[in-house]
Symmetry: C2
Amino acid sequence: MPVDGRPTRDRLIDAFESLLVSSGSRGATLDAVAAAADVSKGGLLYHFHSKDELVEGMLERLRVQGAADVEKMRTAPNGAVDFYLETSVDSGSDFDRALIATARIAQENDPRASSALADLREAWFAELREHTGDEALARTIQLIGDGLYFDDTTGLAADDALSHVRAVLSRLDVL
Amino acid sequence: MPVDGRPTRDRLIDAFESLLVSSGSRGATLDAVAAAADVSKGGLLYHFHSKDELVEGMLERLRVQGAADVEKMRTAPNGAVDFYLETSVDSGSDFDRALIATARIAQENDPRASSALADLREAWFAELREHTGDEALARTIQLIGDGLYFDDTTGLAADDALSHVRAVLSRLDVL
DNA sequence: GTCTATACTTCGATAGAC
DNA sequence: GTCTATCGAAGTATAGAC
């Protein structure tokens, strides 16, 4: 581990995630990941013996980040709903990047990635349901969050989307 | 063109889309496409000189399908909103497949695919706005549709999602 | 219009030096 | 812990027979 900056292992996962987000899984080759992390391919494969292990490492980190996010949501000063919507817009945080990257892997039909995402979504939904006391409303808010997310990751985001959502939800006495 | 069934060119695009949906763009290789369409790789490359041309062909077909969909939305018996939500859930139609496949390509940072999707979304939004007479509401409904879509394509769909959305929208006097 | 054969490139992974 | 060298498999694309 270098004295400056993050450990190589983390830099590799960072690079992997960034490439997945920016170029999709087709662009996230071991060569590209190693280059982006300023390590040789051999160096990469010392830390992760295969591409599969690299995915595994990313998912492990996501679970830790996810647990922290759910905790923050539970105790958010402006309430869980507001926190959820706010963080559904890609802010460029490490957690956002990890989430988008994982969605890319999930779309390649990887059950581990799908299940990691499903677990997180279940936790979010539980919070939304508890804070709204309304299953249908909680489900709808979650869908809106998913939509915000999808738009962001496909380059289709409308910048006034979030304020419009707030306006509509306030009509439902949610915000 | 064989007397039975679709022309080879269409069968190739069909196969390309199906592979994109089921395995992502990593699985949609020329080999796999050719095999799925029951054609040799050479046969494929007679119709499409490169993978890029195959994408081009898919997008061309999507634009035609998209124009038809917008027209159907405009004249839908139960209204544009209902039609939009109903068709946001993957029904397995050809158009759904084309849409999901195109989203996969857009995520690989392909501006042609992104712009084709953006055009379609703009048309949908225009219809939603006209039929609701409310920009914020139209935007929110579009986000819900995006969310339904995203969940379907990531294997995260909740089967009661659509009925919950209907319940909430009826509180807003939309449905 | 479709096939086989083949050239070239890139990918994932191993081996072994330092 | 990191590097270079190398291998086999798979990817895109071309050439030419049928």
